[in-house]
Symmetry: C2
Subunit: 211 residues, 2 copies
DNA sequence: GGGGATGTGTTAATATCATAGCAAACGCAA
DNA sequence: TTGCGTTTGCTATGATATTAACACATCCCC
């Protein structure tokens, strides 16, 4: 038996939505006002039926022979993902990966604002990365409470990930974006999304070997 | 119709193998000499049957009531993934993400050695990151040929990703680990693995919203 | 030695996801 | 207005992946 008993929406679909958003925004910049699934599918090398199904679960509806109106569609996807509002997040682990994520301006389009960073190394505390202050991890509970932050990004080494996650949970974090190569042990009510870079590398490795 | 017609091994299984490897190495450090699927499954919150099946495709075999011998199992997985040998790779895009990847020592355990970096910004050329020289992208073909490098890591902004990828292909790269939020248009014989960070964020977003 | 507990390997069943097929909706051109 | 081609939305088929079921092998304890 696994963690989540039922899934409301298919994971693969959710993972594809951001790429749809990308091409839709691009098309809008280019001046389009409507778009067909066929077009999106061609752009991303997917099946058009699949695109249609994915879009359907955002609740939007298209018109035969026309397709979808671009702006409402973009709004629908953003709304579905909760990216139409800005979500503040705290980053834990001000190493080079953390620095890279803070500087990654693409997240703004996803409604993600990394409002502060945390670490435990004394020499880092007080300095800042791209304008975000680095605080001591111990100050997180108070700051999270005061600023109402519930999302955390974990970019510490694997060896200290669980300990850091514990502090985050104690601070009231309910969603952790975990970049550490560790299976975190967390309460039921905390959502986790693991970014396993090496898993991705593994796929590339076997694909290259198979050619 | 999609790109790859047939897949030799199930993707989900391949993606899980590195986490098994992590657990197994940890157990070895702790002094174990054998391990059961049940144990691994518990450690990672998976189904034991699934673990057994995944391990089976590396070709190794266990013994009832005993489990698997640790070291041969680790070797089998590493061998399956091609991580028992060092693979040199070139990194394109010496921004903060590129820097983070170069400094990520975990890749050594995956047989990945980022041997040089490339960029197009004049002020970066000639300097180095963690001991890796930054060359001009135009020098890549010659260096790739000379050093026999066939794997590339793409960490440039989306807007310049396709152009950079074209240079990589021309340089003889046959596998691209793509961190740019773009669907690359590449020849048939080049393997790509896309790391879509925002897809991962999307999943976290809807999971948090659903709690 | 002889149960019992545990763990593998395999086959079968289920759930999930992707793909194909088709009718109805609609704009466009004649 | 009428026929044609396109595109949606739905249904059903097929592929893949996960979970369950079970027979057999091995060790431990008695």
């Amino acid at each position: 038996m696994r963690g989540e008993p039922k899934r409301l929406f298919p994971h693969p679909s959710i993972r594809r939505l951001p790429s749809y958003l990308r091409v839709l925004r691009q098309l809008r910049v280019e001046g389009s006002q409507k778009v067909s699934c066929t077009r999106i599918a061609r752009e991303l090398d997917l099946d058009s039926t699949q695109v249609r199904k994915d879009l359907a679960l955002t609740g939007i509806t298209g018109r035969p022979r026309i397709g979808y109106e671009l702006s409402p569609l973009i709004d629908a996807i953003e709304n579905f993902l909760g990216w139409n509002r800005v979500t503040d997040a705290f980053l834990v682990g001000a190493g080079s990966l953390g620095r890279a994520l803070i500087g990654y301006d693409n997240f703004l389009r996803c409604g993600l604002n990394i409002s502060a960073a945390f670490d435990v190394m004394a020499e880092k505390i007080g300095s800042d990365i791209f304008g975000r202050k680095i605080h001591h991890l111990n100050d997180m509970p108070e700051l999270a409470r005061r600023m109402g932050v519930t999302m955390g990004i974990l970019t510490v080494p694997g060896s200290s990930a669980q300990a850091a996650a514990n502090v985050m949970v104690a601070a009231g974090i309910t969603g952790i974006w975990n970049f550490a190569p560790v299976k975190l042990d967390l309460p039921e009510n905390v959502a986790v999304e693991n970014v396993e870079l090496v898993s991705s590398l593994a796929v590339l490795s076997v694909n290259m070997a198979g050619k």
